[in-house]
């Protein structure tokens, strides 16, 4: 009885709500009938993102599990934060975190100013075809694969055959075993990075320089300023927003050392200065099969990177109104 009564009471309410719902439904159906094509176009991409990028995020739970291949991701038992305890008492992992930060800091210190200086210098070159040619050349290494880069470095720095030791020999010194000595890894790695990316990196700053109002220079000429003064008083301040944004982006990516090149250039004897988080994960996980521990290290890395990138995004948005973006 009571049940009947309450359903009877609800009936009229249900009626009105379902009628408006029906209206919404028919409108929605109409919408999909009319616009189904754009959903069909989007669907493959969405499925791709789920299968290749979001499903691995689900798989990240093995960072909190005692993962075994036979039980699979879902079937393995939970063990809480044990892997993280193991990680933070693992000297090699701690060392990899510090190496990552230190290599990134060196990249920032030397690699960040290089393209700015290069762009400022390109801006002072008057001879158009000379400028064009040298730009074409300095952009080129960006497009060369890390395997080739490593091949060039290994050949050039080889103790007996390499050009670097040939020159050292001319100067009357003993050959240096560059690639097996820990103290040489970072200079070679950072130097290679500058050689490869400084030219290409200058494009952004050249574009910013091209956007500077020419009348500023004209009035500076009237005031009798020389090129050096104009560079410091006009060009540099004008591209400062771009410099700041690029700097923020770089800081946001501090956990990302191009580990592919590290794998190609390091050896067990240089691990102490060369091993970064991702190379450690690669060895522990993909080479030694400790998937769960390595996934925990990956999660730690990804979370730190996420916080840094989000902070960088927020900061850069603050500057972006005044910049070319």
């Amino acid at each position: 009885m009571a049940e009947e009564f309450s359903t009877a009471l609800q009936e009229p309410l249900k009626g009105t709500s379902s009628r408006s719902e029906e209206g919404r439904m028919t409108r929605l159906i109409d919408h999909f009938k009319r616009e189904w094509q754009i959903y069909a176009m989007l669907l493959p991409t969405i499925i791709w993102f789920i299968v290749f990028l979001y499903k691995p995020m689900y798989g990240l739970q093995i960072a909190f599990k005692d993962y075994s291949i036979f039980r699979g991701v879902a079937g393995s038992p939970w063990i809480g934060l044990e892997h993280f305890n193991t990680l933070f008492s693992n000297d090699q992992f701690i060392r990899a975190v510090w190496n990552t930060i230190q290599i990134s800091a060196l990249n920032l210190l030397f690699g960040f100013p290089a393209p700015i200086i290069l762009a400022l210098m390109f801006n002072e070159v008057l001879h158009a075809s000379f400028k064009r040619t040298s730009q074409t050349i300095v952009y080129l290494p960006h497009f060369i694969s890390s395997v080739i880069i490593s091949g060039i470095v290994i050949t050039a720095f080889s103790p007996s055959a390499g050009i670097v030791n040939t020159v050292i020999g001319w100067l009357g010194f003993e050959p240096v075993y560059f690639l097996t000595q820990p103290e040489w890894f970072r200079p070679i790695f950072v130097g290679t990075g500058i050689w490869q990316e400084a030219g290409f990196g200058s494009i952004v700053f050249l574009a910013a320089i091209a956007g500077v109002n020419p009348s500023l220079y004209e009035s500076a000429v009237v005031d009798g300023a020389n090129r050096w003064q104009m560079m410091w008083k006009i060009t540099v301040p004008s591209i400062l927003p771009t410099i700041l944004i690029m700097l923020i982006i770089r800081i946001g990516n501090i956990m990302e050392v191009s580990f592919e090149l590290v794998i190609l250039l390091y050896q067990p004897s240089t691990y102490e200065t060369a091993d970064v988080v991702n190379t450690w994960i690669y060895r522990q996980g993909l080479q030694s099969g400790q998937y769960d521990l390595a996934a925990a290290a990956g999660l730690f890395n990804a979370l730190v990177a996420f916080v840094l990138v989000m902070t960088a995004n927020t900061l850069s948005r603050r500057f972006s109104r005044t910049s070319l973006w």
Partner: protein, 293 residues
């Protein structure tokens, strides 16, 4: 050059000094390539003794003869072409329609779809879950797996979506009047108008496919599936680890160094061939890329 006459003496000195520095940096960029080319054409003995500086010493084609006779070199070269062409086409099949759909104002939940895609730029599951996922998908040691699994990235989709969004509506309206559907609007209006953006993304895809190494090394086991970069890596590490092999090579008129250099030259040549075409677009492209999110 007109400016030159207006320059003071100090400005002229400054401009010359800058040009000299730029020239030096340019030479420093170019030199390693010249050096590698010189090594590749030198005799193994001269290369091992570190005599090569700028030009080939005891010029010979022995190193090229050695690698061009290696069937694995040709297999890897062919595979790299398959990965590059197949992968780039696959990317376009996802990216172009996907970016178009995301640029449509009438797409319901557009904000959420955009966030869904952009989120992957900020947070990544990392190497291990990605690898285990590939194993679960039965895509280890699969050429199709390589082509499909690296087809899309958030950055390229967003770049193209931004470009599509900037196309004025009037272009589309004319086509709609003629009764065009979305597929036709995309193909006949948006794609032709977005040539610079599509060219840029195509070139990004080609370059990253041609250079792709890490995942190919991790995921592929069969020799008949590996790309050139993995083959090059195997050669470099075998040659530098294996002393006996080096000595055997040295006796044959080439050495580890000259063979490595020759493979480097062979794999750079296609890049140099497309480079002039790339160059036309990438300056524009990198600036498009600046328009993030």
């Amino acid at each position: 050059m007109m400016k030159w006459n207006l320059y003071s003496r100090g400005d002229k000195i400054f401009a010359i000094a800058v040009s000299v520095l730029i020239g030096m940096f340019t030479i420093a960029t170019l030199y390693p390539f010249i050096y590698i080319a010189a090594v590749s054409f030198s005799s193994g003995f001269a290369a091992q003794a570190g005599k090569v500086v700028l030009t080939p010493i005891d010029a010979t084609l022995d190193a090229y003869g050695y690698i061009l006779k290696d069937p694995q070199f040709w297999i890897s070269y062919r595979n790299t072409f398959i990965y590059t062409i197949g992968g780039t086409i696959m990317s376009m099949l996802f990216i172009i329609p996907g970016a178009y759909a995301l640029s449509r104002p009438q797409l319901k939940g557009r904000r959420y779809f955009n966030l869904f895609i952009a989120f992957t730029m900020w947070f990544n599951a990392g190497l291990i879950p990605f690898f285990l996922n590939m194993r679960d998908l039965n895509m280890l040691d699969s050429m199709f797996g390589i082509i499909l699994a690296f087809a899309v990235n958030a950055f390229n989709i967003i770049l193209l979506r931004n470009f599509f969004e900037a196309i004025p509506q009037s272009f589309e309206e004319a086509a709609r009047m003629d009764g065009a559907n979305d597929f036709q609007v995309l193909w006949k209006v948006f794609v032709p108008l977005s040539k610079p953006a599509i060219a840029t993304i195509t070139l990004f895809c080609i370059v990253s496919r041609w250079n792709g190494f890490f995942w190919a090394m991790v995921l592929l086991q069969s020799e008949e599936k590996i790309p050139l970069q993995v083959f090059l890596r195997h050669t470099i590490s075998n040659l530098s680890d294996d002393d006996e092999f080096s000595i055997a090579l040295g006796a044959a008129g080439f050495s580890a160094e000259t063979v490595t250099a020759a493979i480097i030259v062979c794999s750079i040549i296609p890049v140099l061939m497309v480079y002039p075409f790339i160059q036309k677009y990438f300056e524009k492209g990198i600036l498009l890329g600046g328009v993030k999110e």
